[in-house]
Amino acid sequence: MMQNIYKILENREIASGTMSMRLEGEVDFYRPGQFVNIAVPGFTLRRPISVCDWDDRSFTIVYAVVGDGTERMSRMLPGESLDILAPLGTGFDPDAGAERPVLLGGGVGCPPLYGLARRLLERGVRPTVVLGFNSAEKMMLLDEFRALGLDVYVATLDGSYGTKGFVTDAMRLNGLDPDYFYACGPTPMLRAVCLGLGIPGEVSLEARMGCGFGACVCCSVETVGGSKRICMEGPAFRKEELIWK
């Protein structure tokens, strides 16, 4: 893991209130679903954001502008630099052995699934993609997933695009029959997916973090195997590990 200065190559809005930022610098991600922890100028704690995709010398994050820190990030310009810790955490396992996996994304939970889709394709595994958003104006990455040659289904809560409802509704209505799932999104969605789908899978959890690298245990969740840190043993956990109360 490295603490490094990364140069912003690009920072643009890709959906309403959603930014895509590409950063240049040393890149050693080894699993999709890993995250970075960003020191935003003027803020005390770092902001954890998942890596969306990466190549040899740059990586991309996609983030929603929700509070002051992400708002500050959204105003940064190409050429400016950020102090970032990366790579952090244990991401999704692209070698889990799935033959027909489905990728289930909710809102800003969609970005890490793009990097995962690419790593699955590299292994000859072709996932189906189901993305859920509040409304059509929040939709993102559809073209990128389609450009990989994947089938993409969409659910919107207000019905402004695709299936009206949740990703699980879009799965059912389109008769999808996956043997494994990878999910990232809001907690109620992850809960519904874990409790509702009778197949094995992995979900990526979120928590407010103190450090992001395992030192403070601010981010621990209780699992069947004892307490685990979302920033170290996670953010991706196998469905069987999690306890939903």
């Binding site: 893991m1 490295m2 603490q3 050693d28 005390t44 704690l45 407010r208 450090c211 690298f213």
Partner: protein, 322 residues
């Protein structure tokens, strides 16, 4: 995971052994006064990915209790202007797992003095924990965290009354011969009387301060940000409170004082030592910048030069005059 170090070459940290930085902490020799504070450095080894931990003066490990504790529900952290709140609730794997697993791992990445931060919710728990840690390889100091509520005392924190602080100290002194430092809670009306009570009961040293009680509220939800509501306030914001309390206590007591609270730079270390600290713990700064302690140690000699400080041993309490 292959770990490289962003801004140093491997041999560079060896230069950090500098006699000007050496201090004595109640009979324990430290190569420098910089100690990662309990709860902000795990059991050490998690940080060895960032730098060679042997540059550190000592390490205080995560507050350990008799039994494993999961701690409080999430969220248990909230950001502040230049600090943070935590309501971790003393999550730890329990003393036996610490002795069997964490300590050996800690000792494989750090070979200096280990400070065992011990917490308890009853006198018996403090006593039993300290009895078990006594004699553990590498552990040279016990640091009693007395900020925990006493389950037999109506939930009042041990550290908020002279009587209960004295009781804990006496109970623990019976079972250990290790130097015993009491880590004081700042959430009291008169820190000096509590410090004196600890000293009179036989404490070999004091550490101050632990976190200040605080709270943040989410404007959007109109609810406290942390699930537990209140939590411990730490980070740069609390530095002046810590300096003031170290000053007051080191004037009133003769045992050595470890300073702690908001330290983030070499200059902060010097200031805290001038106020009365023999050594200085760094907590929250590690969470923001994982190499904070190493960076502070590196910057100490130049900062000392700037203020005409020959060596750190002579610095303690120098602001208090004679």
């Amino acid at each position: 995971m292959e770990m490289t170090n962003g801004n140093s070459c491997p041999g560079e940290d060896m230069n950090l052994a500098d006699p000007r930085l050496e201090v004595d902490l109640g009979g324990v020799r430290l190569k420098n006064p910089v100690i990662p504070a309990s709860g902000c450095f795990g059991y050490g080894y998690v940080m060895s990915r960032f730098y060679d931990l042997d540059v550190l003066g000592a390490i205080s490990f995560k507050g350990t209790t008799l039994h494993p504790r999961f701690g409080n529900p999430l969220p248990r952290v909230a950001e502040c202007a230049s600090g943070m709140l935590n309501s971790v609730g003393l999550q730890n794997p329990g003393i036996d797992a610490v002795l069997e697993k964490e300590l050996p791992m800690m000792r494989s990445s750090f070979h200096g003095p280990i400070i065992a931060n011990i917490s308890g919710f009853s006198l018996d728990e403090y006593r039993e924990c300290c009895r078990r840690i006594d004699g553990a390889p590498g552990v040279e100091i016990i640091e009693l965290n007395v900020s925990c509520p006493n389950v037999h005392g109506g939930g009042m924190s041990f550290g908020t009354s002279c009587e209960s602080v004295a009781e804990v100290v006496r109970a623990v002194k019976e079972v250990t011969s290790l130097p015993l430092f009491v880590k004081l809670s700042p959430n009291v009306t008169d820190i000096v009387s509590i410090a004196r009570a600890a000293e009179d009961a036989g404490a070999d040293g004091l550490c101050l301060i632990n976190t200040l009680l605080g709270m943040r509220i989410d404007l959007r939800t109109r609810r406290p940000i942390m699930a537990n509501g209140m939590g411990g306030f730490s980070g740069r914001d609390i530095f002046p409170v810590a300096v003031r309390m170290i000053w007051q206590v080191s004037r009133a007591c003769s045992v050595p004082v470890i300073g702690c609270g908001g330290v983030a730079s070499a200059e902060d270390v010097l200031e805290m030592m001038m106020a009365g600290a023999k050594a200085v713990e760094v907590g929250t700064a590690n969470l923001i910048n994982p190499t904070a302690c190493r960076d502070i140690i590196r910057n100490l000699p130049a900062a000392m030069d700037r203020y005409g400080i020959e060596n750190l041993k002579e610095l303690t309490s120098s602001a208090q005059g004679n």
